[in-house]
């Protein structure tokens, strides 16, 4: 065993060093052949972040592309499919530490169809490494990666000018590419951009300064990562405390649990609860390790207030001065992440801080061409497109602009039917004249000016609409069974079944989201045909062929099995 930490005293000093380390999260981007995975593998290896048995497993791997030498890219290409294709296809997180810092790397792929992965990795990063192939120069991809980094608000950009060995470590090549890159960074408004000449395969200027680039006097890549400032200056100093849940173990305690995303809170501070606008002050700041006098950004605490006001998950506690904007409409940049294109006007679910509300995109202002950064006419927003849009929500969001605060300026859009995360959004500005002051909202924070959509009705029912054609004699038993399972049902009888009225009634009930029941025999044959032909997109289950006297077990179980497919996702909000 090593004697580095042989005694408690030295262990203690070791511990002091370990516990003083801060944390830098960074992301990497590069095109397929820029050697990004190799660079990360090299960084992990040379900084001793790779465990020996993982190295052994790479060495014996079947698809080693370096003929017996260590293929550093295999250290990060995790999944089987990727290993077979030799391409990183998703975001992989890597961890390593030096004597100075702990690092989290989000390793993301570089090819075009995976813009969404880079945005994902960039969303939590303080720094981005952009790989530039010295033999190829600044490519459209370089522009794209730098743009996404700036869009996601990464304050520090470093261009690793890679494959310097292939250009004979020439200074003029490096200087030319550096100029090109700085121009790009300036164009994107990135506050800090530096360039480092490296060779990932040879290890030049990754950890140790290379002898082959005597003309380069700047830091090596690792030196830079170890010294770049990690703390972003907060542009907003007032409190933002989104409430995650209410902790109420008994009648004597009622606390609001959450993480402070901006600012600081002290015992006795006045606070305002949004969206209600009610005021109180902080009675105590509770943690498992004892109450504290104050807590700052990033800390997870529980706040007890001086007086009882109605607060639940999704509300935000803020300082009375410099409150966030409360609005149901704003402009945002969207990164579209779904194979299903954006449908303007369709209802999506927006998740913002701890709040989930219905949202729709009312207008696509323009698309951004990620290669040229040119604004283009709005068309369909397809996977990996980026666009500036107008958004309306059913209830107000409590937000700051993304450029001021990543945590209160960001949101995601979720498709309420497929449950997929379809977009990432960054709030750009409040739509002019659209701020919804608290007085326009009723006591529940509901904006009465936004129309109720069909999707919202489906959501409340917990299922989408459908029609069942059942044996007439069994209709009441079937309705009872469906109703007991929580479905909103209606039975069509009498006039409603008349040829001239049927479709009018059917469309109305269907758009209300109900499960409609009709006796199969009572429905006109012509109506049935028309139903099949002209309402082909509607869900109609015909279970009338099941022979039945009253309501057999078989019939009911068939109906319930069909009905189950109508259910929507579990409700995101279950309340406290």
């Amino acid at each position: 065993m090593s004697t580095v930490l042989a005694t408690f005293e030295t262990f203690d000093s070791f511990l002091q060093q370990e516990l003083k380390k801060d944390l830098l999260r960074f992301t990497t981007a590069g095109s397929v052949d820029d050697g990004k995975s190799t660079l990360i593998g090299r960084l992990l290896h040379d900084a001793k972040g790779v465990y020996e048995d993982q190295l052994a497993s790479v060495k014996k791997s079947k698809v080693n592309r370096s003929n017996g030498l260590i293929d550093f890219s295999l250290l990060t290409d995790g999944l089987r499919a990727e290993r077979e294709q030799g391409i990183t296809i998703d975001v992989a997180y890597r961890y390593f530490a030096t004597a100075r810092r702990r690092f989290i790397i989000a390793d993301t792929p570089g090819h075009e169809q995976y813009t969404r992965n880079m945005a994902t990795g960039a969303s939590t990063a303080n720094l981005a490494i952009i790989l530039v192939d010295a033999t190829k120069g600044i490519l459209p991809q370089t522009r794209r990666h730098s743009y996404i980094a700036s869009l996601l608000g990464i304050p520090n950009l470093v261009a690793a000018i890679n494959k310097m060995d292939l250009v004979d470590y020439r200074e003029d090549v490096f200087l030319r590419l550096s100029d090109d890159f700085r121009e790009l960074a300036a164009q994107l408004g990135i506050p800090s951009a530096i360039c480092i000449p490296v060779s990932a395969t040879e290890g030049d200027n990754i950890v140790d300064a290379s002898e082959k680039t005597p003309w380069y006097e700047g830091p090596t890549l690792l030196e830079y990562l170890e010294t770049v400032p990690v703390h972003e200056a907060a542009s907003i100093e007032s409190l933002r405390f989104p409430v995650q849940l209410v902790i109420r173990p008994d009648s004597t305690f009622r606390g609001f649990a959450g993480q402070i995303v901006l600012g600081r809170v002290r015992v006795g501070d006045p606070i305002v609860a949004l969206p209600s606008g009610k005021s109180s002050s902080v009675r105590s700041i509770v943690t498992f390790d004892g109450n504290v006098d104050s807590a700052g950004q990033g800390e997870s605490v529980t706040l007890e207030l001086a007086n009882e006001i109605d607060i639940s998950r999704g509300d935000m506690l803020v300082s009375p001065s410099k409150q966030p904007t409360a609005s149901t409409s704003f402009a945002a940049t969207l990164v579209w992440m779904s194979e299903k294109p954006l449908v303007a006007g369709q209802s999506y679910l927006a998740k913002h801080t701890t709040r989930a509300v219905k949202a729709r995109v009312t207008n696509v202002r323009h698309r951004v061409n990620v290669n040229t950064l040119a604004h283009e006419a709005a068309g369909d927003l397809e996977m990996n497109s980026i666009a500036v849009v107008d958004v309306e929500t059913s209830q107000p969001l409590l937000f700051d602009l993304y450029e001021q605060s990543r945590s209160t300026g960001s949101f995601i859009l979720i498709d309420p039917i497929s449950n997929a995360t379809v977009a990432a959004g960054m709030i750009l500005e409040v739509s002019s004249g659209s701020t919804t002051p608290a007085r326009h909202l009723d006591s529940r924070g509901v904006d009465s000016s936004v129309p109720v959509t069909a999707i919202e009705k489906f959501e409340r029912h917990g299922h989408v609409p459908a029609m069942f054609l059942v044996p007439g004699a069994a209709i009441e038993a079937v309705e009872r069974a469906l109703f007991a399972e929580g479905f909103e049902t209606v039975v069509l009888r009498g006039d409603a079944l008349r040829r001239e009225l049927f479709f009018h009634v059917f469309d109305l009930l269907y758009s209300a989201g109900l499960v409609i029941l009709a006796g199969a025999e009572t429905l006109d044959a012509e109506v049935r045909v028309k139903l099949q032909q002209e309402r082909a997109d509607r869900t109609v289950f015909d279970v009338s062929s099941i022979a039945d006297e009253v309501a057999s077990k078989e019939l009911i179980s068939r109906v319930l099995a069909n009905a189950r497919s109508l259910r929507l996702g579990t409700h995101a909000e279950k309340g406290e």
Binding site: Y51, N117, L245, R406, I414, T421
Partner: protein, 324 residues
């Protein structure tokens, strides 16, 4: 053969406690504090958003840390979900004793689930191989337990730094109605905004320790005085060398033909089933020594667990089928 009791370990660590107190104070301001705050945030989000959460409790060091974080997240309330232990029946007896005592101390409800059907049919890693044995006693057992309990969110203590396929895991990991993971169709996860939407019978695995490393876990155990199973501490134990691993022998009936146990000072780096978890030779009988050893060894902790080695990419295969 005598076992170290939790009390003995605690008293030994208490000797160094005073010296460590200042370090513990520092710990409250360190990157550990950031990781802790993030994990608490994740635990609270999942409890707020899912109707039936459960915490996988494997008795190991990561589970112990996750449990402490749960105590912190909901304080002064109780832990608002049960703990679920998937018992393969091949666990170390020290683990079971520790589990029952600790769950009681923390005041959490404990559910223990076994795949009795497979066990009665004689499932074991020797004749079935580790893949099939894990499939029956862990993965199937887990999926059955989750279905029986109607759980739609399950916390797991997995860390992304453990293994390559885990490096790509989301914090909220979507599983289809068969509990399966599709690494090519994961939901993008941005900022700290998690998508909790699922349909009936689908579920989410939630990983609050995603961003922790092995060293973070040990430092936190030290800083927080978290009890761990005595098997982590080195002592002389009866072992045999089997397939390159040191296998601890509790009973001579576990011996295979020709094997002769001997006394070796050793400990476990990670806890699994007796037949598939190797010990390492070690002198580390206190937490500081364990941390020191960890740093000097620089071997990933799963090296001595046979299950990840049976096929390259085997963890990914297991995860696709529903394993944690």
């Amino acid at each position: 053969m005598s076992q170290i009791t939790t009390e003995e370990v605690e008293s030994r660590d208490r000797a160094g406690a005073t010296l460590l107190e200042s370090a513990r104070q520092t710990a409250r301001l360190s990157h550990l504090r950031k990781l802790e705050a993030e994990s608490i945030y994740i635990l609270r989000e999942a409890v707020a958003e899912f109707s039936h959460p459960v915490m996988m409790y494997s008795i190991g060091k990561d589970s112990s840390v996750m449990l402490r974080l749960a105590q912190k997240a909901f304080h002064p309330g109780k832990i608002p979900f049960p703990l679920l232990h998937i018992d393969t029946s091949y666990k170390f007896p020290e683990m079971i004793a520790f589990r029952d005592a600790y769950a009681k101390e923390v005041g959490a409800q404990l559910i223990v689930h076994r795949n009795e059907e497979a066990l009665q049919a004689g499932a074991n890693p020797f004749t079935l191989g580790t893949q099939k044995c894990c499939g029956l006693l862990k993965t199937k057992s887990l999926l059955d337990a989750l279905a029986e309990g109607g759980f739609n969110a399950a916390f797991g203590g997995a860390r992304r730094d453990e293994e390559k396929s885990r490096a790509k895991e989301r914090i909220y990991s979507f599983r289809d109605s068969h509990g399966q993971w599709d690494p090519k169709n994961q939901r993008p996860e941005l900022w700290n905004l998690f998508n909790s939407r699922i349909d009936k019978s689908e579920s989410i695995r939630v990983f609050p320790l995603s961003n922790w490393t092995e060293l973070d876990v040990w430092l936190y155990i030290l800083a927080e005085n978290i009890p761990i199973v005595p098997l982590y501490y080195a002592k002389e134990r009866e072992v045999v060398l089997r397939n390159g691993s040191l296998v601890v022998i509790h009973d001579r009936s576990e011996l295979q033909f020709g094997e002769e146990p001997r006394l070796v000072k050793c400990r476990m780096r990670s806890l699994g089933c007796v037949p598939c978890t190797g010990a390492i030779r070690s002198e580390a009988d206190t937490l500081p020594k364990i941390i020191e050893e960890m740093i000097s060894f620089r071997r990933s902790e799963r090296e001595n667990r046979a299950i990840d080695h049976d096929e390259e990419g085997s963890m990914e295969l297991k995860k696709r089928e529903g394993y944690f």
